[in-house]
Symmetry: C2
Subunit: 443 residues, 2 copies
């Protein structure tokens, strides 16, 4: 891809500048960390993409970029977003609050915005889209979800004639790496987490990843695009992966499944949004089951297209920079041609989601529990499930634990979650039950 150099550049107001100015699009960037450095490397030899200023926290810090012109750096992001010659602001600082103030200022100053900030879009997307509409500028955010995987643009354009029915994504590389290692090596969660931390895939405090907060932001951004539903990411039902044991992984394998942390979103028949983040058993024949290590994938069901899946690296310097650079090119190409700066499908405005309570969702369940009094146990479990209207697909006795209890695994048929919870309460109160090990849903 190279940009043509035979056109003049319109200024931010849309009026072409003098044709004596060489054709270029003027960029101001906020943040020069991992992704920002990648974006800079992609465009540094492209004369059409001109970096005017890059806002950084500490201009004296050593950078990984060769021969970086230090005059490019500024410690004043507010000055960067108000520079009169800058046409596009690339926000790569992260966090929701200062980033929001800067993006609002950029839009009010008539600048297009490219961001990879999932938290910003999840929390303030609709408000920013409306502001951008009023100021006739674009805000693009392909890098905010699943790094380099093309998903936002394909959902908006390529699947634009579909009613999207369901999205199920492996959206966090850290947890997928941990679950992959637990599966391949038989490790415990703690062992796999340590390995991930040693390799730089997990942070010292892994809460944001392993408790599913990161996936919550991403699935709420995808719901905004696919369903036009605005959802507070903190209102999403969310379960992490810390309670999953090597035993659960092995049980799932024997049953023909792998365990993955899934961000799930679908519309119910009555127009509510079923959106959740939790680990699930994925059948071995499902394309999500083969997504290994730090890779991500998003499985989408559309009414016309059927099942599609997008797979790739969900993070990292160059993959995420690839997505940010695509957004910059989409805007720049339009500006260089003097046209609307991007593929701008006219999108229905987003509306606040009515969430379906997770108790009303219907799922198949995997339940592992430890029991005493082995001979009567299967009958007791069957009764507790039957009384709650839960039908069982299989019951497996998995052997005797060191403490003398027996490990039992149930797989249910599809049932409402509140019925399953009712069965679970009854099982928990049974004399023969020692403790509940793990309850997981099945995709």
């Amino acid at each position: 891809m190279s940009l043509s150099s035979s056109q003049t550049v319109p200024s931010p107001t849309g009026m072409p500048l003098s044709s004596s100015v060489s054709p270029k699009v003027v960029i101001g960037m906020i943040g020069l960390g991992t992704v920002g450095s990648g974006v800079f490397k992609i465009f540094r030899d492209q004369p059409e993409i001109f970096f005017q200023k890059i806002a950084v926290k500490d201009a004296s810090k050593t950078r990984t970029i060769d021969d970086l012109d230090l005059d490019l750096l500024s410690q004043d992001p507010h000055a960067v977003v108000s520079d009169p010659e800058t046409q596009v602001i690339v926000e790569l600082m992260g966090g929701a609050e200062l980033a929001k103030d800067l993006v609002v200022a950029a839009i009010q100053n008539g600048k297009h915005v490219v961001t990879a900030n999932k938290e910003l879009i999840a929390k303030h997307g609709p408000e920013l889209f409306e502001l951008a509409r009023q100021h006739n500028v674009r805000i693009l955010f392909e890098g905010a979800v699943a790094g380099g995987i093309p998903i936002i643009m394909p959902l908006k354009l390529s699947l634009g004639a579909n009613r999207i029915e369901e999205i199920a994504g492996i959206l966090n590389g850290t947890t997928n790496y941990i679950l992959t290692k637990m599966t391949q090596e038989g490790w415990s969660f703690e062992q796999a987490l340590q390995e991930a931390q040693a390799k730089g895939f997990a942070e010292a405090d892994p809460t944001n990843d392993v408790e599913g907060f990161d996936v919550g932001y991403k699935i709420s951004v995808l719901s905004l695009i696919a369903f036009k539903q605005v959802v507070d990411p903190l209102a999403i039902h969310r379960e992490g992966i810390t309670h999953i044991t090597a035993e659960d992984i092995e049980n799932a394998r024997e049953l023909g499944y792998v365990i993955k942390l899934i961000g799930l979103a679908k519309m119910t028949d009555d127009g509510r949004l079923d959106i959740r983040v939790h680990p699930m058993l994925i059948p071995n024949h499902h394309p999500l089951s083969n997504v290994q290590n730090e890779f991500n994938a998003i499985f989408v069901k559309g009414d016309a297209v059927g099942d599609v899946m997008f797979y790739g690296r969900g993070a990292g310097e160059m993959p995420t920079a690839s997505a940010v650079a695509a957004d910059i090119l989409a805007i720049a190409t339009g500006l260089l041609k003097g046209n609307e700066p991007i593929p701008s499908m006219i999108i229905d405005p987003a509306i606040p989601a009515k969430l379906q309570p997770v108790g009303e969702t219907v799922n198949k369940y995997y339940l592992r529990l430890n029991t005493k009094d082995k001979p009567k146990v299967i009958g007791h479990l069957g009764n507790a499930c039957g009384d709650a209207g839960v039908s069982l697909e299989s019951v497996m006795q998995k052997g005797i634990n060191p403490d003398g209890t027996a490990s039992i695994v149930l797989l249910t048929q599809a049932v409402r979650e509140d019925q399953m919870n009712q069965a679970l309460s009854a099982i928990r109160e049974q004399e023969s039950t020692s403790d509940i090990g793990c309850l997981l849903r099945v995709l």
Copy 2:
């Protein structure tokens, strides 16, 4: 997705029509077969997309569309492409020659074109793109490759900042269905083909699919987009799947591979195009290995994004209609807004490909052969390979055939194909060789 109805429609010349005209985009369609019917169903209740005329071979034929207004049908496709009010021609008739004449006429008449015709784009794409550029209209063809899977637009836009390094695709649903059944059921090629024909996945004459012609068209279209390389689809090195046996599938499984028909394209370091269609052994951990039945997938390596994969249904009424409809929406949205009608990245012109001869490619090989004189065989094979500079990764004796010969499987290390052919000639001439069963490359 709904289109806004607050704008006037520019005519094909770009001038807005009177604002008293309700905003719509006027479509002429050529072909009302499977895909055409799907496109019609998607838009029939969308007032913004207005079908002016649909050219069919036989207007009296019974159609699957409820309440079809027969006045819409015309048996004169030339009249449809020259209708003065029509803004977009949707070509779904197939074949390269008449379709080309009609698309040329449509472009010369100032109409945008959407097509799902892989043969047309593979054979005449560059010429049509240049004509469209001269007439300032767009030609879009998302449906031409891999049905509903978004791949053309993502390659052009979402991966636009990448230098694409390699494309490897499962691009034909019929052969993937056959190979999947051979793998899962242990069937012969002939059994699996019969089943595919019975299910409507394979035609009575399956040559176009099983000999790889269909994949040849598709990989040449992808090369045009990804590498800007124009290649005659009939010049592509092409091998089908008819010689693969249940034994080869089982041998591959034991070695940790599945066999898939792959369309492959990559640029060599000296700027030549390595493009081929042939079956390959795919390692079980590779995401392409889990693409089952009639599904398609395209694996793309980009210099920034790394590995990405796009997965979905490669054919069928609604999946392909989904892709065609996305192209129509992309053009219509622009027209309704009075702007450039699509996301139009400025693309380097395509150039005629210099093909790398397949003899110069470097691959790992799987070789199955039948031998006499068992005791000395391994030594003979080792000598033949060693003399040609072919290193062996493994040699497996697979048991004795009913005719008393022994089935032997070799897996080589990566080696130039002409060296492999030299080893193969030597093996074929050896006294101990009965016959060569199957030679396959490894991804």
